[in-house]
Symmetry: C2
Subunit: 207 residues, 2 copies
């Protein structure tokens, strides 16, 4: 008897400069699609107040990170402000094999690695409506000094230029609109003919 090959899940890579509202957007999307798997990065960054290990990140020490990296266990990794962040290749592959779609909330460096490795992912970049607006949002945070804020803004501008090679761009001027757009991208990618071939053949052959 022919065994049907289970269709692999899709990877949605979401990047954004800090202050673009990525965390809020991703949380809203996880409520819309409870079956969507949110990949949790490994990081050497110490937990901040409110961070939960295994929910926000897998917090590990630099030695452990290095070991995992040496064993090729990261699909991508990046160093940001002196801390390392990486996505477990093993977990990612397992979830995709099970047919689940995955969201990878990672920075531009990591996304570029995945693109260069020809990961068949869907790359989505979230933009602030303007640089001024981003500046205002960052300054409202007040969790860091002026110098750190300016450093962050400068980095954000560099990151935003990366948006030029992404598949989809979402401008986050209104959370509700951005949410509908991200939801739309996820639904649309799942309706692509290449993805629907099995379903179509079943309908045509009356299975």
């Amino acid at each position: 008897m022919e065994k049907k090959i289970k269709q692999k899940g899709l990877v949605f890579v979401v990047s954004a400069p800090s202050g673009a509202g990525k965390t809020t957007l991703c949380r809203a999307i996880s409520r819309i699609f409870p079956a969507l798997h949110f990949s949790i990065s490994y990081t050497t960054r110490p937990p901040r107040p409110g961070d939960v290990n295994g929910r926000d990140y897998h917090f590990i020490d630099p030695e452990k990170f290095q070991e995992m990296n040496d064993r090729g266990e990261f699909a991508e990794w990046a160093e940001i402000y002196g801390y390392r962040y990486g996505t477990s290749r093993i977990i990612l592959e397992k979830v995709l094999e099970e047919g689940q779609d995955v969201i990878l909330d990672i920075d531009g460096q990591g996304a570029r690695q995945l693109r260069e490795k020809k990961l068949p992912g869907i790359f989505i970049f979230l933009l602030p409506p303007s640089v001024e607006e981003l500046e205002q949002r960052l300054s409202r945070r007040k969790t860091e000094g002026k110098a750190a804020m300016e450093e962050r803004l400068k980095k954000a501008k560099v990151e935003m230029a990366e948006a030029r090679w992404y598949d989809y761009l979402i401008v986050n001027d209104e959370l509700e609109k951005a949410k509908e757009q991200l939801k739309g991208i996820i639904l649309a990618e799942n309706c692509r003919r290449e993805r629907m071939n099995n379903v179509l053949e079943d309908i045509l052959t009356g299975k």
Copy 2:
């Protein structure tokens, strides 16, 4: 002073075998996107009870259709059950130039002509969940005899095989789900990077 080139609209071509629920779906979508332009076909088919000229179709006689066709005024046209149906190329181009997105609700023959002419459209095929379900839906209509119904079902199966070259497939098992998917495709296509280039450059250069 540099004049900004207005971005052209997108064309969404929606095809389906009869009984797949296309009319209901398209009406629902027009309520979601009031700015979306619904292209109205010209036809030589006589109006049925309830048909409104200029809303459902532009009803014209065969001579007029032939004249328009001879002048190359149709972007696509097809003959179905002895009647002709065509899309005005002039109206289509005008609406797209104005930056409006357009939905073309046309049959597989017409869609194939547009694809062959390399129209940069987005081709969406709406499918019934199964051939049996389609048969039931068609038989519930009771507006036609058994022979006509069987002819229609046979034609539907041929048309459904065309779905293999479309960009997106939507299975209409639940109207609400199908509506979300079509809405998602429209939103997603408008977020594609190629389409967002102007917006991105404006954000990056602070315009």
